[in-house]
Subunit: 385 residues, 4 copies
């Protein structure tokens, strides 16, 4: 149990700056009260999540949503709040030029512009000390025949190679895949196999990021996690959950058993060892629920799944597996899942000087009332550029 606590204490879960701003579906963005107006205020909110959970010490930025004049100042501001800058997320999907693609666009001019943006993100990594670039491309096509699927792979490979070459010592990029959306018919990096194949060719600084909400129905995500860890190509997670399409539900909200299975494969594959570099990032928004509590709950959900995964009696499991004892092996696995780990995590928090119940503690803190009162005027942050 001591070991389990030590591992849980060492796990870091990164929250994304955009989770604190407004968001919505294609039908409507509902504005919430107290929402940040700039990256500095987003960092302040993220710092609250860390203050109450103790395991969310970094914040991912999204460029250009988090563009500032002085990134060193932003990083200093983060440090003062007790958090650090995590991954830099590029955005090549919100400029009118990108209607038909960014790095895979038929036009060389648009591709150049998109690639330049990615290179600029590496500059921002240099300026903020971030070591990770996260690449997600909305590129794809809506109609069969609209563009050449294969030529788009050539263009993608070319852009990735240019960005890869620009990476400095200790820097890496994570390539994200997504089966669908916003492209309707074909996305240019639809599955882990595509991301993996590109990353293998590029080299060790390119890794795959698994966004839990980006798969076809029926996909066994934990298999992918196990496979990528075995290949040394799992760069990290974008955590969220979904029942059907939009992937903005809190991680673990739709299928907590799946999250447990994923975290078990992480444990099994050594992915909790910081040396493997597996990043645990949230990538979700809170459309109808309050944002800071939404992030706190999400962090707790990842922690609970991790704790359960650590509780699996691996010796007993291995023995049952070796004997072909189907029900026995499944029983060992389920025993861990069925355990209520909330008391263990409460204890862990108290030992770290935190409140045992982060949700209640945040609610009582008065922070929400304060930001509602303070953040008057200005434009609320959202997905707008």
């Amino acid at each position: 149990m001591t070991d389990i606590k030590a591992v849980l204490r060492a796990q870091h879960i990164e929250t994304p700056s955009w989770a604190y701003g407004n968001s919505g579906t294609r039908f409507k963005v509902f504005a919430q009260r107290g929402v940040p107006r700039d990256p500095y205020e987003k960092l302040a909110d993220a710092a609250q999540v860390h203050a109450f959970t103790g395991v969310a010490p970094t914040v991912a930025l999204h460029i250009p949503w988090d563009k500032v004049d002085d990134y060193a100042d932003l990083a200093r501001h983060a440090r003062e709040l007790g958090v650090g800058i995590g991954a830099i997320n590029s955005n090549v999907f919100q400029d009118d030029d990108y209607m038909l693609g960014s790095v895979t666009h038929p036009s060389a001019r648009v591709r150049r512009k998109a690639t330049d943006h990615l290179l600029e993100c590496v500059d921002i990594m240099d300026a903020t000390g971030s070591d990770t670039l996260k690449l997600w491309f909305s590129d794809g096509i809506n109609y069969p025949g609209q563009d050449d699927l294969r030529a788009r792979q050539d263009r993608l490979a070319e852009a990735l190679a240019e960005v890869y070459d620009r990476l400095g010592e200790g820097q890496r990029f994570l390539l994200e895949y997504k089966l669908f959306e916003p492209a309707f018919y074909a996305t240019d990096v639809p599955d882990w196999g595509t991301a993996y194949a590109h990353c293998v060719k590029l080299g060790p600084k390119a890794q795959v990021v698994v966004d839990t909400g980006h798969h076809a129905p029926g996909t066994n995500i934990e298999f992918i996690v196990a496979f990528l860890l075995r290949e040394g190509k799992l760069g990290g997670f974008d955590f969220n959950s979904r029942f059907y399409a939009d992937d903005d539900l809190m991680v673990g909200a739709a299928d907590p058993f799946q999250l447990f299975r994923i975290m078990y494969e992480v444990v099994r594959g050594g992915g909790l060892d910081p040396a493997t570099g597996v990043a645990f990032m949230l990538d979700q928004c809170h459309n109808i629920e309050p944002k800071i509590p939404g992030q706190i709950r999400s962090v707790m959900n990842v922690q609970e799944a991790t704790a359960k995964a650590l509780l699996v009696d691996r010796e007993a499991l291995a023995a049952a597996q070796a004997e072909g004892d189907v029900l026995g092996a499944n029983g060992v696995f389920m025993d861990a899942y069925n355990t209520d780990v909330r008391p263990l995590l409460a204890e862990l928090r108290e030992e770290s000087g935190l409140a045992s119940d982060p949700m209640a503690a945040y609610a009582k803190s008065g922070y929400f009332e304060k930001i509602v009162a303070d953040r008057v005027g200005g434009a609320q942050a959202g997905w707008g550029a």
Copy 2:
């Protein structure tokens, strides 16, 4: 063949006013040139679709997107353009009050507001002469436990009953179902069974509308069409297509064989007889393709599928089916599908004094260049209220 042409000539395909405005995904709305700034300009564009296809004589309105001071004037404007007002579409999803629902919202105040909007739509039907109200509810919940699934049905039933009672002679409403989106976990009218059960209780003025893009993967849509026609409860179609989630692709673009099978069941069930009241409506937007040609192509796709469905040799089919001749029956069915009906439709158009190729004719007409030049200034129409 004469009969087939007569039936094809009589088929009316309604286009939606919102197809002519800007639209997009949750990631980005790309603005296009020449987009209408008000309902009058939308009607003008819709009239073009009718002018070139000859089978799109009505236009669906969406309230409040198409709110005007004088609906009688709008209807007159339409008539002058050669088109009529079709279904009135309500909108109870874009007001901040509707974040947690409209007619199923936990708050009686919000439900009242939503129901009042629906009643107002019936007023607009009276004013425009429209005989059809189309009801789609974005209502639902994102998280398990968020609200009471069953109580929401009670609230839904109450609102529907009030609207039903308000319908005048010769008026009806169509209840739309949708498995997912924008609610993430549960929508309040997720499937045809739910819509059907409510409509049966209400009476003959309530019917189900089948939106081709609103089903779970693997759903046999033509079965639903056949079943509802058998029950006298098929009110019409919202046509579009999709590969995964967003349902804004042109009808027939993703799976033309499915569209053919759907239209075959319509033919088989007598749904092309205007007396059955089955409405053939498009409900799709054009995010990256030009809007008027997108509508023209969509209308043509429905026509082509209908023509193929009419070509099925039903005597030969019935004979093969009766004998249990699996390959023979399927062969008769596929023969019709594999026929190239474009020459037949070209002939049909020419006989009606239209150009044989509506896409080419529109492109040559200069209309697009004209609206790009004319529609300067003002705010382009879109999904905003």
Copy 3:
């Protein structure tokens, strides 16, 4: 807590006779040791599940797999073993005549034969005292055009009406739906809406049974449960689980959170009250795991989900829902799910004089060793007619 225990004690979970025989996939049936050779031995195995769980007092039969000369004798045998006869399941899918359907077959002769079998099943209900007939039809078509979808509905309605009229006082039938399999393109009762529409027309003795493994990906099963309960048309469950297609995994094995949500709607809708007549039946086979322990585990899984559903603090939930407190309401819901109810159920068993751990107790009982030794020679029971 006393109340919860009383409710849990009153819940009855029916096991199916076929779960004790051999089964498999289309690729291979793997034979197991100690498998029953006849219905009497199946009942003996089922009695073990009841002996160790205390909540599985009835056994469903499947005709003709469980055909015997003297059903009264079989029922007496069951009583002596401490169990009763539950639902009678018809089988109109394993005769060569049914290749193209049974009650929906194009041939009147085949339909007659199939309907006669259903009527015979009612005779067996009379003879065994069973009050429930479960109807599942494999009927459907593999290829578009193969048969007339609508005519098949007419034939189905005709057969159902004849069976309905034959039902005696206190008897009912449950109509099962299934999206796919073994028909590849269209099944004749694909969804709950179809089953519901037929049952409504027939009357109160016809109800819908929800087989948890028979839905399209993304379907919200608990919504269907809530809706049918609201309509008084939920006859019961066929429990099992699946990740993709074949639905023979132990209930709760694939998505325990979903099972909890389903059981919550049962609780919410009053479905645990025996007066509502909701039957909780297992319908699953154990292809690679031992059969009796597989059934014990499945019964326990239903019990655990039920216990969690009963633990939901419904007052707190209603309060949070009324306030639109999304995270609060979801939090109340998840608190119940995250509770480890295994100690509660162990206590409940001990209070009833049972071993606290049914799996371990069965393993120690020596029953398995006994049947392996005893059941030598003869033909193992399976899906063969």
Copy 4:
């Protein structure tokens, strides 16, 4: 057009020996009349498919279903019938030892046995002159925790390496992937990425085979085809189609537009050039339709899709794509799909001295009546070992 005909003439579509035997679902195998009793009779039936289509000159074997004492004699028999031996398909799923896996089984003994079978298949390649081994593994697990996902990959890699090393000059193996079935929870080669990663490590003699029925809902198969061709790793196709699960429908029967898109990517990527080694194989059974006509129709469906793919005006397409003309490019693509290519193929057949309508010609040939009369007694071939 001359070129198109030449390409079509050169395309070879391989039929599988098991398509001529009985098959079914897990619910029932319906026996048909005239079914072959041994591999020699299967080859005779396959020869009929070639005789009437002219493009099916090879037959895939399945070991042990097609085990014979003298493979040289079997190959000679084939040659006399005018056909050749195609791929050798291994079978490591029907022995009781394989209940928990074959090459990934926890037991070294079972793995040895399975690998030995694969090596034996290479011996049969040597004996028959076949150059292709097709590897499909039913390996996987039904329950989470049942076995170690990662260890199973290690075992898989080890077995594949041993088989790879055994391949002679001019021999290769194709690794098949399948998302689901018969394993319920996780299959050991679930997707193209897994197959690709193993093949890349092994070398040029290992390639991926795309079975069109083995993907999750929503998967863009043509993307996979394009990607694998770009990587030089597309070994071939197992053609069939499915609406939901079982993949035994005739290729092109469920979604002919998808088949066209797949064939377009083959054309686009040069895959019709025999030098690329892309094998076009059918892998489907005919459960309710007659088998030889089912194969003839399937061969014709592949031909028709290929012809349409060849008809795409690639210059016009490239021009529209380069201009970002979404509707124009899609229009060029659809023009080819909407063309009725049956007259072209009829002409092609007549130029080759074949009947223009293979289905009608076979029906008139009397072959079916002959085999029904001749094949009396003996055991009909099926999936049994």
